[in-house]
Symmetry: C2
Subunit: 244 residues, 2 copies
DNA sequence: CGGGGACTTGATACTGTTCAATTTCCGTGG
DNA sequence: CCACGGAAATTGAACAGTATCAAGTCCCCG
C-alpha cells in the first residue's frame, strides 16, 4: 500500500480466458457455450500493491480474478478506511460500480495477481441472448448481497474472538473449495487489514490470534496459519457460554 | 414481533401497479413503456408484524414496497439476530434470494403495509427484451451492494454516536426524497431494532439519543424525532476531534 | 547486513455492555 | 371512556471488552 507505483497493467490477448469458466456452475448447452466464446476478455497482470481500480473511476468492466489475492476498501472522507472484502481466484469483483457507473471502492492487489476483464456492456448484451448467463449474473450479484449481510451480522453482533474465528473458517472454506489445504494457509493481508475488515484494531487481532494459539486451536507464525481443530474453532462462532 | 399471527396477504388484482413505476428513473420510449405494462403485478397487504417472507422460503418474486415500512433480519443459529435494513415505500426488497432460490433473511412489516409482487422469472424474461429494464435491474442489485458496504463502514469503523447520527441522517434523506419532512418524522422501529441494525444495545441507543437531545441537536419523544440542526448532526459523523 | 514496517505484548483508559430499577406508552378489555 | 397490564424506553451503577499508548522484537526487502 505504501507503493505509490501502479504499473500500467500488462495487456495480453487471452483467448483461453472467456466467460465459459465464469459459467462453470451453470447448465449450458453446447450451443450456448459456443456463444459464450464470443466474449473473450482481456487478461491483466497487477503487482502487489497495484490498484485494479480506484473509487470514482468510470465503470466499464467486471473482473474475474484468475490468480492472486485482492482487497476492496471504502474510504471515508475523514481518512478512515474500511476493508469490505478479500477476493481470491475465481471470484468476481467490481459489481458495486454498476449502480452509479463509477467504482464505489478501491480494489488493491495483495500479491501479484492476474485478472480477466469482462466488459460489462458486452456481458449485458450476451446475457440478453443467453438466459442461463443472465440468471448466472443475477446470482453473482445476489450472492454478493448475501455475503455482505453475513458480514453485517459479524460486525453487528459478534465479539472479537468470534469474528476472528469466523474469518479464519471462511478463509479455510474458500481455500478448500480451490483445492488447497483448509487447515494450513498463508494470510495475504496484514493484521491491520484483517482488523479493518473485522472492525477491530490490529493489536486486538494480534492478541486474539495469540490467544487462539495459546488455547491450542491454531499455530500462527507471522502470516502462516495452521488450524489444528476446525470444530473447536467453529464452536467459537457462537454464544460464549457454549464455548469450551 | 410477538404476534405469531401472519395473516394470509390480501390478494388484489392491481392493474395500476406495474413495472412502469419501478422504471421511473429510466429513459424509456413509449414503445418500451407499452411492453412494461405486460408485467402487471399483484398487490398484497400486510399487517404490522406480518412476514413478507421468511428465511428459507422459496424465492419467486421481488417486492416493491408501495406503502409502509419493513425491516429485514438475518438470524444466527444461536438465536442472535441482526437487522440488515429498514425499507420504505418505493424500495425493492427480496434480492438476497436470487442467489440460492431461497430467501436468506426475514422481511417483517413494521407497520401496515402494501407491496407489489414482481415475479422474478417474468422480470428476467422482460429484461431480455428491454435493455433499459435490464440495466435498471442491474443497478438496483448493485445499489444494494453499495448500501451494504456503507453499513459495513458504519459498523466497522464508527463509534456509537456516529452510527446513530448517520442513521438519523439517512432516514432524514430518505423521507425528504419521498416528500416528507427531513427534520420531523416517526421512527417505525424500536430501540432494540435500531440497536441491532447499528450494532449496539438498546440501552446505548436510548442513552445516545438522550445525549443528542441534551446537546440540543434533536428532540425525541418516544418514536417521534425532530432534528433541529442537520449540519451539526452531520458533523457527528466524522472523527471526534472535529466535533463541536 | 542494515533499516523500516509489521507484529507482539503489557499497562492503562475508555467506550459500550450488563444488570437492575423505574417510568412511560399503548393496546386491550371492562 | 377509563383503567389495567405488558411491552418499550429511560436512567443509574458496576463491569467487561476493546482501544489506546508505549516499548520492544521480528521479519523481510533492499
Amino acid at each position: 500500500m505504501q507503493k505509490p507505483v501502479t504499473l500500467a497493467p500488462l495487456r495480453v490477448a487471452c483467448s483461453g480466458c472467456n466467460l465459459r469458466e465464469l459459467c462453470m456452475p451453470m447448465d449450458l448447452s453446447d450451443l450456448d457455450m459456443e456463444q459464450l466464446d464470443d466474449l473473450t476478455c482481456i487478461k491483466h497482470a497487477y503487482q502487489r500493491g497495484g490498484f485494479l481500480y480506484r473509487s470514482g473511476a468510470k465503470f466499464q468492466s467486471l473482473y474475474a480474478i484468475r490468480t492472486g489475492f485482492f482487497k476492496t476498501q471504502v474510504l471515508h472522507e475523514d481518512g478512515r478506511e474500511q476493508v469490505t472484502g478479500f477476493q481470491m481466484a475465481g471470484e468476481i469483483i467490481g459489481m458495486d460500480a454498476i449502480s452509479s457507473d463509477a467504482h464505489a471502492c478501491d480494489a488493491i492487489a495483495l500479491e501479484d495477481s492476474e485478472v480477466c476483464e469482462i466488459p460489462f456492456s458486452r456481458m449485458e448484451e450476451l446475457s440478453r441472448k443467453l438466459p442461463t448467463l443472465q440468471r448466472h449474473l443475477h446470482r453473482i450479484l445476489s450472492r454478493e448481497i448475501v455475503r455482505d449481510q453475513g458480514i453485517m451480522l459479524l460486525l453487528g453482533s459478534m465479539r472479537a474472538e468470534e469474528r476472528l474465528a469466523a474469518f479464519l473458517l471462511n478463509l479455510s472454506q474458500r481455500f478448500a473449495a480451490r483445492g488447497y489445504s483448509p487447515t494450513s494457509f498463508y494470510l495475504r493481508m496484514t493484521r491491520q487489514e484483517i482488523g479493518s475488515y473485522l472492525g477491530m484494531k490490529l493489536e486486538t487481532v494480534s492478541r486474539t490470534l495469540s490467544n487462539f494459539q495459546g488455547a491450542g486451536l491454531i499455530t500462527i507464525r507471522n502470516k502462516s496459519v495452521e488450524i489444528h481443530n476446525l470444530q473447536k474453532l467453529q464452536r467459537f462462532v457462537g454464544p460464549p457460554q457454549e464455548c469450551v
